[in-house]
């Protein structure tokens, strides 16, 4: 009998992934063996898994390895994005604790799904083969579909899950078709080999273009780039608030990671073409996002559009195709995770049971009824606007600089105009918070649990400290910038 060749396996390289998956399975088992009233500790079990995975990922700093027959790669780039995703997941868990108890969904499945989604992100981030990336994307997406519809009794939540699922399946199909076309053109799904065959010019160029365009669509859907953004407002509004927080951070970061890796490792020789595609996408995404956000009456929906707009800014880093742009994206993603989850934490607090209070009017007078929450939200919103000395400013400045470095002057001008437009809707929320139209109905007081406070402190720390002392984080981001 012929001896089979077993590929090189390095369990150390996938250590964090193993931890996440094992914790998730453990959570499912604990869920069924725990009495309903005692489920409080499940969240902390999940958090423990996230912390352990973070420690292991952080430990991989500076370590580069290609594994599993070149399908899986561990490098600084991957570690940075993984830490961003873990930050997102960890903060989401902190935000979820009170929420899930209040909504009566405090189940192990919820946290298990979060961890499964995170493991999917890890596979996307580390995938050096189109198949690995696609698998990771599906694991992440399917968990997210389930999470979006997690509050089963809310109609909006069901609607969100279904819309997300149907459109997500369509986007996955495009992505898969793109992968197939590229495979057809180059004979491989491995990024490095695709890159080589493109350089040597043996690949069918036309097939590659169509394939790459379909990849843009598939990934563009996940990062909600215009015109593939249509799902975002409905889903963000309908999904449970902590899940929305989660969706806008980790999955976005992971998709950007895969996006960057595919385009900069497999298709770098076409950079002269694709930067123009990203230029257009970036402009459209930020403009449509900002303009649509102006008219929203629901805070979650407004934040969905704001999230689209921020994806537009991040896409600016794509156009450059050099390490400067990539490190700017890395840093921006980190900053964005800090501030955005913080904002959603406040939204979760204000929304109360059944998420009834999510319109702008529901924030009336928040600023002086709950000064601490008010100030927190103001700081986070200012960071989203990009006012110094918050982290949002540094992130924006850095990413604008990277585009400017390549001479994309108009792109930068459009982006600056856009960030001026964004002032209107963020500021509207802060104004509402400090207005004093007396609300007639007596609202139940806001519940601030220790875990929520921790999440808020982390996000405030990130939004301010990264603005004042960003240099060490930027150094990290530069060391992790994929392109030398």
């Amino acid at each position: 009998m012929k001896q089979l060749v077993i590929p090189d396996v390095s369990l150390g390289a996938v250590g964090p992934e193993i931890v996440l998956v094992v914790t998730a399975i453990l959570l499912l088992l604990l869920e069924v063996f725990t009495a309903r009233k005692e489920k409080g500790y499940l969240a902390y079990t999940a958090l423990g898994g996230v912390l352990l995975a973070s420690a292991m990922t952080a430990n991989m700093n500076g370590y580069t390895e290609m594994n599993f027959s070149g399908m899986y790669v561990v490098d600084n780039f991957a570690s940075f994005f993984k830490l961003v995703c873990l930050l997102g997941t960890g903060m989401t868990i902190l935000v979820s604790v009170t929420y899930t108890i209040n909504e009566g969904i405090s189940n192990g499945e919820y946290y298990a799904l979060l961890l499964f989604a995170t493991s999917g992100m890890f596979f996307m981030i580390s995938g050096s083969d189109m198949v690995t990336i696609f698998m990771g994307l599906e694991v992440m997406s399917i968990s997210l579909y389930a999470l979006a519809g997690y509050t089963r009794n809310r109609e909006k939540s069901n609607e969100a899950a279904l819309k997300y699922f149907v459109l997500g399946a369509l986007a996955s199909a495009f992505l898969l078709y793109g992968i197939a076309l590229i495979y057809g053109a180059t004979g491989s799904t491995k990024l490095a080999i695709i890159g080589d065959s493109l350089r040597t010019g043996i690949a069918n160029y036309h097939l590659i273009i169509i394939g790459a365009a379909l990849l843009v669509v598939g990934f563009g859907f996940k990062i909600s780039a215009v015109p593939f953004h249509m799902w975002a407002p409905d889903v963000y509004q309908g999904a449970p608030a902590p899940v929305t927080a989660f969706m806008s951070s980790g999955p976005k970061a992971a998709t950007f990671a895969a996006f960057l890796r595919v385009f900069n490792e497999a298709l770098p020789s076409m950079q002269a073409d694709w930067w123009q595609i990203f230029w257009i996408l970036s402009v459209m995404t930020m403009t449509v996002g900002n303009i649509m956000a102006l008219r929203q009456t629901d805070v979650k929906r407004m934040l969905a559009y704001s999230s689209i707009a921020h994806a537009g800014y991040i896409l600016m880093g794509f156009t450059t195709g050099d390490w400067f742009g990539v490190s700017a994206i890395l840093f921006y993603m980190l900053v964005y995770t800090f501030m955005n989850i913080g904002v959603f934490a406040v939204v979760t607090i204000v929304a109360r049971k059944n998420e009834e209070k999510t319109t702008f009017e529901d924030y009336t007078g928040l600023g002086y009824k709950h000064p601490i929450i008010g100030v927190t939200l103001v700081v986070l919103l200012f960071s989203l606007i990009g006012i110094p000395p918050t982290a949002g400013f540094v992130g924006k400045f850095y990413i604008f600089m990277s585009a400017l470095q390549q001479g994309y002057v108009w792109l930068v001008i459009i982006a600056v105009v856009n960030s001026v437009i964004s002032v209107f809707y963020y500021l509207r929320l802060t104004i509402v918070m400090y207005m004093t139209e007396e609300t007639t109905e007596a609202l139940p007081s806001l519940s601030l649990s220790p875990s929520l406070v921790t999440a808020l402190i982390i996000s405030i720390y990130g939004s301010l400290w990264l603005g004042v002392m960003p240099s060490s984080y930027i150094t990290f981001a530069q060391a992790a910038s994929l392109i030398p």
Binding site: Q3, L4, I6, I25, L28, V32
Partner: protein
């Protein structure tokens, strides 16, 4: 390109014939529409109930479980065939796979998916 012209011709003729036949029957054929005739299965039997009814959610759960364990079997067969060649590594891998599925089984069992009532 010239070698494709017969194909194109063939395509055109086939299309014309099929469209023509449908059109001809639509235009020339007599039409009698009554209730029984409009039913999905025109075989004389009166329909018992509408085909658009809801199934119990359990059907879906069982169907999903079937697929999962079916896939397990699909993996087990080739593994069993190459068991010798894969050696200890293969054994451990498969055990991990089975263990994960076993955890899933315990989960659905305790959740009550297997209880039909």
């Amino acid at each position: 390109m010239s070698q494709y012209i017969p194909v194109l011709f063939m395509l055109a003729v086939a299309g014309a014939i099929s469209v023509g036949m449908v059109l001809a029957s639509e235009l020339l054929g007599p039409k009698f529409k009554f209730r029984e005739k409009m039913e999905p299965f025109e075989c004389g039997e009166v329909q018992a109930s509408s085909s658009k009814q809801r199934f119990s959610i359990r059907f879906y759960l069982v169907a999903m479980m079937f697929i999962i364990f079916d896939i397990e079997a699909v993996f087990l067969f080739p593994w069993a065939v190459t068991f010798q060649a894969l050696g200890v590594f293969g054994f451990i891998e498969m055990m991990i796979f089975i263990l994960i599925l076993a955890a899933g089984l315990i989960y659905i069992w305790k959740k009550g998916v297997l209880d039909w009532e």
